[in-house]
Symmetry: C2
Subunit: 461 residues, 2 copies
């Protein structure tokens, strides 16, 4: 964890923002509990709540805290261990020393949380809390504050802080990206026709666990890139296919990375693969080149959509006026997702707090079009934003058939030619980008090979 | 999954057992939902509920089923996918075809579960369900059957079936154990002073993910074996220490393995380490040699406790009458856990159904003594039982000091000499054992080196 001053400063800033919004009462933070996989003593790997990590840093289960907006006082709720705990977990620091590490003045037993909340409710004071990210927190909040709704004022204040990464966070993100690059390199080198996809997944996730907390999200590794979130890895790697690997490492400090590369399984792109790959590559490069303070990421998304359609038009897969196709959302047929999302302590940063409050400025409305409607980050870019740049082109037979049947895009889409792409799969290329004072830089030291020749050269090694 | 006949037969047996207990009404099974780690779209690796797997085999989230005890009818509740799902997850089999795979006659939408349960409640029919193993299931049951308690009749019927492994399960467990042995071998070969423990954990868990579903429980890998469940792996490996590795693989078929070995970090035991190791090794061998139908595992536990005290007496760490020491629970100071537990689809099989109903025969009462009181499996052994054999000796300063201060075991324990073991750590040695018609066999093909010389030889390679 960072020094206690970091957490104290953040909480002071948060209290200031709540006061500036005219808010009163308490702010309640509930840290995570262990998440049972099969029974209460066999849990998934421990992962603390991200907002808790941001404001307190304490990386242990069953903690909560209350900040008093008017009084400015802070209390950590947690329990000291007993002899049984020592047998099972070894000697543990006291709650007092944990509170000191986070710079919190007061401590109380975890069980005291209920009466502290009840007292506030009884005296009519609002209790602000964030949306629960797990079923445990939903249950806990249901006990503490039955029927209560998360506080939009609190969400907005937290989002405004976590969206703009501090220097210590950027350092942590660079590190997570270095680990992500290392993991992806191992994966790329492991691609050999004839083995099972799961063999590669194990190898790469082993790197994530050896050097970091594990993967930052369930690994996507598939020869069916047109299936956007494929978590089965039971297929034999076949020659001539495209392998999409979308994966990231969470560092031991709990910051995420998120990269996607697409590889020809035999190390060489076919002509057809290279044509589509080149378009996606150019979209990735274009997006990065446009990233700078002042432009909205919605605009960047639409610029890459235009570029994509331009490339597809050159292959005669679409026809017509580019601007009109962009406006009608034709790119969504090929890329039914957004260009990117915020990244930080979560790989989709703060998605538990609500996609629109996180990714959209107050003056922006989320589109309903396929593709643009899935854009998770649309905001006007500011220094300190960390976003992914991940264009993709997919040929999804079920989606194409649906469009065709409903007559969608019939003035633009060359459905006849598209049929010859039904077994193509998909391509996605993703980097992680920090917005700087006058532009942007890619996170991590070095970059995974991405230009088609560079990919082939890396695979030839 | 197995053939549909397997699941049909199991459900028929279950219905028969419920009827034989005079039970009526419905049996409600609720499969797991995805478990969010940070937000609803970033989940932990999918893991189905084990009892659901046992009776239905369908390995997907958001399914439920109702069996009618009187009518014998069966209904699977699940939803077919829509076009959005196809974009994200690819084409999926229909609910109907899934029901066919599990041999279930009727299907209904997942949302129909509420009215089906409500109808039974309204007409006064009991609804039997198992204890929820996750917070999601707790929430779901709270909605469906507010205030209702799990059915002990159902628990007993399910336990009686899952306790005795079928041949297809034994094959699956042998496979899981082979994977566990492979993973442990990689770990053993990776032990080198100077590296971080986490490096080994990543390597071994990579094997679990490449060849199986992952680890069957959070890996214990520690130079502080006296801490029984240590999940931090941030220490540098130091020469001259003992490294306890307690870890298992869950196979892709979701059966568990669970092995423990203890290695000298430099490849050679010191004299002092070898003395204690030899005792634990002999306890492990003794337990296995006693395993056969008819004996209770409580008796086996106590026999190893006696053996352990005998060895410790030879080192002058305890003194006095062995039987009296066994009776007074002196072994618990050194091994504050039980000799073993059931293993199957869960590494502590069915622990969500209640330790005592799973591990104790109706005529057995759980002891309260340290050590014996933690024994998870005490039953009279039967062919088809799968259990772990995991004696250990630990020198836990906080526990020894507590005993000493409270005058516990003062007639037997040589506290003065024990002080020289405060930095010793701990040793545990664990195999997985199948009870056969006339004895027992260790699961997995081959056995991880365990005799002190064998361990040193394996580490010298």
């Amino acid at each position: 964890m960072f020094s206690k001053e970091v957490y104290q400063r953040r909480r002071q800033t948060l209290l200031g923002k709540m006061r500036a919004q005219g808010q009163q009462g308490l702010i309640l933070f509930i840290g995570n509990a262990e998440a049972p996989a099969q029974y209460k003593d066999n849990c998934y790997k421990w992962r603390q709540d991200s907002s808790w990590l941001y404001f307190f840093g304490l990386d242990e289960p069953l903690m909560a805290a209350i900040l008093d907006i008017e009084a400015g006082s802070e209390t950590l709720f947690a329990d000291d261990v007993d002899i049984d705990d020592i047998i099972w977990m070894g000697p543990q620091p006291s709650v007092r020393s944990k509170a000191d590490a986070a710079g919190v003045a007061h401590t109380a037993p975890y069980g005291g949380l209920g009466s502290a909340v009840a007292l506030a409710v009884k005296s009519g004071r609002p209790v602000h809390f964030l949306p629960p990210s797990r079923y445990f927190n939903t249950l806990k909040l249901g006990q503490l504050l039955p029927g209560a709704k998360p506080s939009e004022a609190l969400i907005k204040a937290v989002v405004s802080m976590r969206l703009i990464k501090e220097d210590i966070e950027i350092e942590a993100l660079d590190h997570a990206c270095d680990l992500g690059i290392a993991m992806h390199s191992v994966a790329r080198d492991a691609i050999v026709p004839g083995i099972i996809e799961q063999d590669i997944v194990g190898k790469m996730e082993g790197v994530a666990l050896a050097k970091g907390w594990g993967v930052s999200f369930p690994t996507i590794l598939t020869q069916h890139g047109e299936t956007l979130h494929n978590h089965l890895h039971d297929k034999v790697i076949e020659p001539g296919k495209l392998m999409v690997i979308d994966a990231g490492v969470e560092s031991n400090e709990h910051y995420a990375s998120d990269f996607t590369r697409t590889y020809p399984t035999t190390g060489k792109f076919t002509q057809k693969q290279r044509e589509i790959y080149q378009i996606v590559y150019e979209c990735n490069e274009l997006a990065f080149s446009l990233c700078k303070p002042g432009i909205t990421y919605r605009e960047v998304h639409l610029a890459t959509a235009r570029k994509m359609l331009e490339g597809l038009a050159a292959l005669d897969l679409v026809r017509g006026d580019l601007d009109q196709m962009v406006a009608e959302g034709i790119a969504g047929l090929f890329q039914p997702h957004g260009l990117g999302h915020n990244m930080g302590l979560d790989v989709h940063d703060m998605e538990d707090l609500g996609e629109n409050l996180v990714g959209y400025d107050p003056d922006q409305t989320r589109a309903r079009q396929l593709g643009l409607g899935s854009l998770r980050m649309a905001r006007r870019l500011c220094p300190g934003h960390v976003i992914t740049d991940e264009p993709g082109i997919y040929f999804i037979p079920a989606l194409i058939e649906k469009f065709k049947k409903e007559g969608l895009g019939k003035d633009f889409v060359n459905y006849a030619k598209l049929e010859s792409y039904y077994d193509f799969g998909g391509i996605r290329l993703e980097d992680d980008v920090l917005i700087t004072a006058d532009g942007a830089r890619r996170l991590g030291h070095g970059r995974l090979p991405i230009a088609p020749d560079g990919v082939e050269a890396a695979m030839a090694k």
